[in-house]
Symmetry: D3
Subunit: 245 residues, 6 copies
């Protein structure tokens, strides 16, 4: 089974973190193909970056699908471009936020997402609500830029731990969800340190992708995710115009 | 007061319909500047088109703001790119869906949105939910492609009227919201024909834009809509990279 | 365009504050007609006062409509008597709470209402819920009697500012809604001081009234807001009995 | 134990229906005191009538409390004036809608309210939502004026039965709530005819009033239901001004 | 009228507390029959204990119904086995949590449940949500084992009082609901001490049981609570197999 | 990896259907151990059967965990005993309803569950709500007894197909969830026939169990799922008493 994992930002070092987490989660027989978006922001922090990450992300999914990938994972906790990807692709597509929240709900009745910066608090809260977990999950912000997670001297991990402590004390959290793909390498150590389940979305999404492929399931195409109807696109995005079916 | 109204699809004839509705709604002293996106889809039908409409839309808002527009209206019922636009712009930005639902709530306790095609049913339902009207508003689909609204021989208007009849009978709707910018020219006639308020989002959004400018209100910038932090964007979207503040 | 703004309490000095805010918000060509209820409480603090403010309020709206007003604003943050007014009047009627929350939602993803006293906390929370903003808006109480807002020596403004500080810190509010018509004169100065949008409902409602009139929209009359059926009213309220249509 | 049951409309024949239902429900040792409002509408159909029923209703509760009643029931399915009454009175006050929905929830997982006319559909739906039963209860309209319930030749009962049939078939209702005080005398016969629990709010509210008095419970007075603060009321409602505590 | 009150744990001293509260609440003419479950846990703390309390509980209700009881009360705040009991019994069955929340909603717009231990926080929150009170009620944990409530030297009451203080200060609670049957004897004294309504579920449920019996209401049997269809049960639970109707 | 799949009813032929579906879904290297409950009902239809299925189910999970199973699946669509199992076990436990709804949400924006009989409609609706899918999923009833699914001559499959047709037409469903473990063998054929994703919970839950084990995740034990505190259980259930930790 071949699963494409797309980092929708353009920072290759972050792709390596994501790829390692994906490989660690993959079943025997699952090949992980990691891709980095070739256009758009170096990190996705808030709604504006998110919008410009979508074309590059969709290009990678299109290329991956053409190359034989059987499922795709979008490795940004905003679930960037997920709905568009589901419309475009015939293979199933999974976001790491939805996957992480889903797994958390199987090991905890109440849990807390710790995300990076204030710009992401509300977008993540909106996802929590949209996915149906508003009564069960809280969102906290560690106050760290995404790329600081790659810098051991940034103090980012300490601030993340501080919020985990508060989540356990004040939110009565029974599990922690890491709210950024760039935190994927921290899950195991944090789980050992705090003694509660700590869920990374990249691994979670790889397992969901495997599940869908194994079960022969892919996106239903008769409603919101119907393939886009054929039409011209103007300007530099013309190459993305949906072809006639 | 100068208000920019952006048609985020690239069909200029639709921009003319939108511009006329905006002008009809504008107060004395309000100048409407209509713009058509220069890149992306000729019509926005579902999540995929929506994603590719955002860069062109944001380019127009950026240009408009630089040129002195005091508020911007996004004239697509999906409220395409609204969150990104609010992050980018310092002027207020209004979506026609949120504006139409808001005005409908002032003239009706229950109302129905009639939108174009099945691809848009769920996206509009999600907006209705996100904006807080899930208990008050239903969504119906007329089954007409967006551009058919511009073709008198398409039967689109008849199908739209059929759904309005059903909304009044089955949903107990007290008002109708037209769920596509391309229907803007139909509101007045439909209101006369059916004897209930019929709300077009373009006019509604122009009035909200005037309201915000008059009252000196613009987007709050300390949370979800903080300006994007400075960073490079790769590839053909590089021109959109947020500058240092 | 003539817009009636009714202060549903009987304190004329508060009407002057309201009238000034309404005039400041009105477009060129909009005439504001301010009215003070002739019967009922001197201030509306909680459910009991609210009930007794309704007849006087409706009398003013009836008189205003007969005199040619094209829309009416109810200038109390409880949206006192709004549903009854919509049933009675053929002109559109706007409450300052619904108008303020609506505008706030266009400039902020999360916001906080600061209202006067404990008696009003739950009524305002119920309106926030009813209008669909429960996931986006919090309610805080400054602990000031309504009429203390008119007394510079009362310390009311300082207490209001204290709650705004807490809203920004603890609620992550991106905008503030002033939860009492008597605070209408404070919005501009508070917005300058705190650097976030501060929304006064009186100005907000005037703009919504202008919007509805401009767009030819008024209350739909086939459901909850159908005109009251003709019937006798007994006792001192007999003059309010709905006439035969 | 003395329980006051107030008919907030001014139709004495309806009071007799209500009184009979209250007496039939009362425990041994409970004295029912039925009162008819002396001012306001002859029937309460929609928001406008409701507003004008409140002063007369509150006058009866005030008089009843002064005369020694230990609890009050408001016998209109809109729960007219309930919040104001709870603020004013020191004795507990129960609405027939809240009482009926509460009892229905103890005998059915899903149930339907059948109310009188279109004007009442949305007000009742709003109560169902406010009381927390939106996921469990539907509202249907029989299309009968309130006073037609007193006229055997009106066909009202047949229309009511028609809606009960539809509720059982289409809503999967396991119980029926009668959505008007004027239907109180029909509950027993309908329950026999349809073989499902049929709940009348008048009897339900009498039992809740007995429960609160027996258990020594009355309205909590530290928040929304704090006694109104002393202040003058102007005009013909001056007699209702809250006295100094 | 004969009402069965079942303590679904096997601790007879707690049954005595429950029985006394039930007797104190019962109307003249109501006979309270208290029963203690003969199998299962000595106290119910969390989901596991709850599951094993159900067979013993249902055995007591079956025996009680056969013996002529006209209604049954389940005296554990988790409303243990309530849905199963409603399916099995033809007499009405009331849980003390649902009864307490219902009565609280008649005397307070906002209230707080104080329950025993962390294991019960989420189960009680889920009941609050299921019964429709999520917007009005908060849940607090006193940190006391259930059986410590019977031990004057345990400090349990002091911890309970501490949470009541916090509920009044931080939750703006207008009433308190005692979240454990073992607290039934404390309600009156706590109400005197704190000056707010304090609701014990045992008394509340007895009154609801009386209400249903008086009004001739019992569980509707055409949906979720249809009698279990006849089938064999294997093993030591075989005696519970539903008989042919 | 060893995964225990428990059929909580006592019908071994149904266990074989479940086991086959589990095996078909399992990854290479996953050993499926199917168990049939030794006590309780032959089929679980509604709340009463559910209650008596729990002890036998928990006995199997306890035995399986002691024998080295690394995760457990509860193969009944009511997610029978799930919370109790999570409290008891240290291995992760998955219900087939929660697993199926989760996977459905990754391939469809709107979907419909088709379950067996009226007794199960509301329990399944309650699960849909509790798991956060109330806005996205509808529940339909095929009107077939559980064990009829094993009888080719019963017409059960035809009735199931009839409801799928209605779900696609009336609910705008983009995917179908099979609402009974006994339907596990039908998913693939129905998916081919209807051309939409058809999700069986048994396969879905096996994949979730694999995911949790692979990622080193198990139930968080500091809140609702803390191990039951040690205490005696009386009577025939004494063997289930939680031991001292």
């Amino acid at each position: 089974m071949r699963i494409l994992v797309v980092n929708p930002n353009t920072t290759r070092t972050m792709t390596r973190t994501i790829e390692a987490a994906a490989r660690a989660a993959a079943a025997q027989g699952t090949a992980i193909e990691a891709a980095t978006s070739a256009m758009g922001p170096v990190s996705i922090e808030g709604y504006y970056d998110e919008a410009f990450a979508v074309p590059g992300l969709l290009a990678e999914i299109r290329r991956g699908e053409a190359g034989g990938a059987e499922a795709a994972v979008i490795a940004c906790f905003d679930d960037t471009g997920l709905d568009a990807a589901r419309s475009m692709a015939t293979i199933p597509v999974i976001g790491i936020c939805e996957a992480a929240l889903g797994l958390a709900s199987f090991v905890a009745s109440r849990f807390t997402v710790v995300t990076t910066s204030e710009r992401s608090r509300v977008p993540v809260e909106e996802l929590v609500r949209r996915y149906g977990f508003a009564a069960r999950a809280k969102v906290r912000v560690a106050g760290v830029p995404v790329l600081a997670l790659e810098d051991p001297g940034s103090g980012a991990v300490a601030r993340l731990k501080g919020e985990i402590v508060r989540a356990l004390d004040e939110d009565h959290a029974e599990a922690i969800v890491l709210g950024c793909a760039g935190m994927a390498d921290l899950a195991a150590a944090l789980q050992r340190e705090f003694g509660v389940p700590v869920i990374d979305g990249v691994g979670a999404a790889v397992k969901q992708a495997e599940a869908l492929v194994s079960l022969g399931l892919t996106t239903g195409k008769r409603g919101a995710y119907a393939p886009p109807s054929a039409k011209p696109y103007a300007g530099m995005l013309a190459e993305f115009a949906p072809p006639a079916a």
